[in-house]
Amino acid sequence: MHFNVKGADLIAGVNIVERAIATNDSIPALQGIHLLVEQNVLTLTANNLQIAIKTKIPCTTLQPGEQIVDGRLFSELIRKLPYDNVIVQTQDNQVTVSSGTMDFSLNTISTDDYPEYPSCEEKVLALTDYELERLIKNSSFATSNDDHQPIFSGVLVEIEQDKYQFVATDSNRLSYVQAQTGQTFAEKKQFIVPKPSLVELGRCLPITETLVEVLFGDNQLAFRFNDTIFTTRLIDGKFPNYRSVLFTEQKTAFVIKRQQFIQALERAHLFSRAEKVPVLIQLTDGVLEIGTTSGLGRSQEQYSVEQEGNDERAAYSPKFMLDMLKTMDADQVEFRFEGTRQALIKPADSDDHLYVLMPIRI
């Protein structure tokens, strides 16, 4: 293996694949970056068995070949090189990285144990990186951290006709977000993707209005964009029927400026956070009261709002409300609630992002 590569290209490639380097795995190869040199193409791969990422960058090939080097070391080393021209070659069972007058010899890891890259062949709907990022951002925050329910630690990725629907819940609140793709897919498909995979995917996306192809395979889902393919293992299991909790009728509603609502809840949260006391949302004759009482004291705020339906009051976790409000894209939000039923928070002018949360019984 022997190639010349531009330092900037190499760093860009490593930036993408290093998200799939295993931390402290018993199999050393999983902590490595796999380098494959073919005709003027360098393919970088990392695979921690949860996530696998492969990306291609241009290079000048002097001799094809493959090697695995320690991922962290390689990644940090190439960032610290002062010159833009880097030569990488195999010498005496080591990989030598040369730049200017510098030579570094990296011990290699055997390629024998390297897992095969998971294959995903079945194409489903494609979408832009913008849309994909929005779907990830508006859903993934609502997953559960409780290990006992693996289903809830993932995000449901659902394909139905022409749209993607991402749903996440920790069983106390649920976030639903959808995006139209302009294409149609005949079958309804459901995948449960581990939250960390989606978060890492979001960080890899170029956000340049690039089209992302989505493919599935055996218990795997892959996202292909530019010269990169990002593949994640799926969570096995059945996601609960979210439609039954999402689409319900709450009789009382108000509309409020999102920023105003966020700030009010943040002030209430100052009082409630230490003892995790709920915040009371009370709507009476067009007056919205947001307040809380804790050992630290009491907060109370009033707003004049558009009211729909009867007077109503219920208590909620301020953190749960803020989680949603901070990720949503809208100036005005609609808050629908009724007694001990789940409340619905959504942008006032759109149904693309819906969030339901259960009240706290006090």
């Binding site: 069983s171 106390n172 609960p240 909790v245 789940q342 009240p359």
Partner: protein, 386 residues
């Protein structure tokens, strides 16, 4: 200027006994032990018994001599605590700042709440009336600008007293008090002050703070200098929120029957659950404590991912923990819940917790109306087989 209210239940334990045994009314009643108790000490004497010279901390044997016709009963601490909780549940309706001093005493900082009442007397009456209505007991109330004076005031017209000490009356009120009434002056300090020819508060007033400090020590000297002038800046400190609620039971002989222990666990769980709900808390953690015949004591606990306040969850978790313990003869068993929060986050997908909490609600209603333990789950009762 602050407004501090001190509430002191009148002969509390005795009053509770009279409440539960109306035939004791008007009788000299002595709580602490039966007449033949050789080691007992009087914990409370009714006002009728006090006329015979019986007072708390006196050996029962001596009380028997002083008051041979008295009614002697052993204390029922659990019952007193229960009534105490009823009383304490009233205080937050009057002020958010409540400092419970003991089972039958508390300070309430009423500063800023004065305008809710036509007068300070009316404020005190309202509280006394409320306690009377909800528990059937009388309390003595003192209202004054600080804790020291409020406590003196509540003592002034006991029992069933109400005394308001206004700032302009303080100096006159204190003048003729014996120095022993000053907060912090016990038997020893009192003797020390008497030795300096200081018998009444008025005797202290001519002396400088430095002089007093030189004579009785800097802390006490400064304290009595200020108290003699009616100055006491101590704030009313609300009680720290309870960190855990638990009940335990010591057996008269060591027990190794699992069905018996299971039954005790069920009963303890109900008691714990009841208190948890009375305080409007939800818990996340259940612990059990087991003391074996050889005094080896172990605790086991489990934290759930969700909050709960129902007896069933407490019992199931406690039982599960007990099942994990290698059983040897047991002399004590206890159940504790901790990790509290207010309210419980409802779940989108489960309706399971609903029915259990409804059962608890109904049972609590009955138990609140009659007495705790009036209605209980079958699992706390002995089965035919044992």
């Amino acid at each position: 200027m602050r407004t501090i209210m001190h509430v002191d239940m009148d002969a509390f334990f005795a009053a509770v006994e009279v409440l539960d045994h109306p035939e004791y009314a008007g009788q000299p009643l002595i709580i602490g032990g039966r007449k033949d108790s050789s080691r007992g000490v009087v914990s409370t004497a009714s006002y009728e018994a006090r006329k015979f010279g019986v007072h708390s901390a006196m050996p029962i044997a001596k009380a028997v001599v002083l008051c041979p016709h008295g009614i002697f009963v052993p204390g029922r601490m659990e019952r007193y605590q229960e009534v105490s909780r009823q009383v304490q549940a009233i205080f937050p309706q009057f002020s958010p700042i409540v400092e419970p001093l003991s089972i039958d005493e508390a300070f309430l900082d009423m500063t800023g709440c004065e305008h809710f009442y036509s007068s300070l007397e009316h404020m005190g009456q309202s509280l006394k009336r409320k306690i009377r209505a909800e528990t059937g007991l009388t309390a003595s109330v003192g209202i004054a600008p600080n804790k020291f004076l409020a406590k003196l005031a509540s003592d002034w017209q006991k029992p069933d007293g109400l005394f308001v000490l206004r700032p302009q009356e303080v100096a006159g009120f204190l003048r003729d008090l014996p120095v022993g009434k000053l907060w912090g002056v016990g038997k020893k300090s009192q003797a020390l002050l008497h030795g300096l020819n200081l018998h009444y508060v008025r005797d202290i007033l001519p002396h400088s703070e430095a002089w007093l400090q030189a004579k009785v020590g800097s802390a006490l000297g400064s304290q009595i200098y200020h108290l003699a002038r009616g100055i006491d800046e101590r704030p009313v400190v609300p009680e720290q929120q309870a960190q855990s609620i638990g009940h335990e039971l010591t057996f008269s002989e060591d027990v190794d029957s699992f069905p018996f222990l299971r039954r005790q666990l069920a009963e303890l769980s109900e008691k714990v659950g009841w208190r948890l709900r009375e305080q409007d808390f939800y818990a996340k953690t259940v612990s059990i404590k087991v003391r074996f015949h050889d005094f080896r004591t172990i605790t086991r606990s489990h934290t759930l991912p969700h909050t709960f306040n129902d007896d069933d969850t407490i019992f199931q978790q406690a039982l599960h923990l007990l099942e994990g313990v290698k059983l040897e003869p047991v002399r004590l068993i206890g159940v504790t819940v901790s990790n509290f929060s207010q309210g419980t986050q409802l779940s989108l997908f489960s309706t399971l917790d609903q029915s259990s909490s409804q059962v608890n609600e109904v049972m609590d209603g009955i138990n609140r109306r009659f007495a705790p333990g009036t209605i209980t789950k079958g699992r706390t009762l002995p089965s035919k087989s044992d």
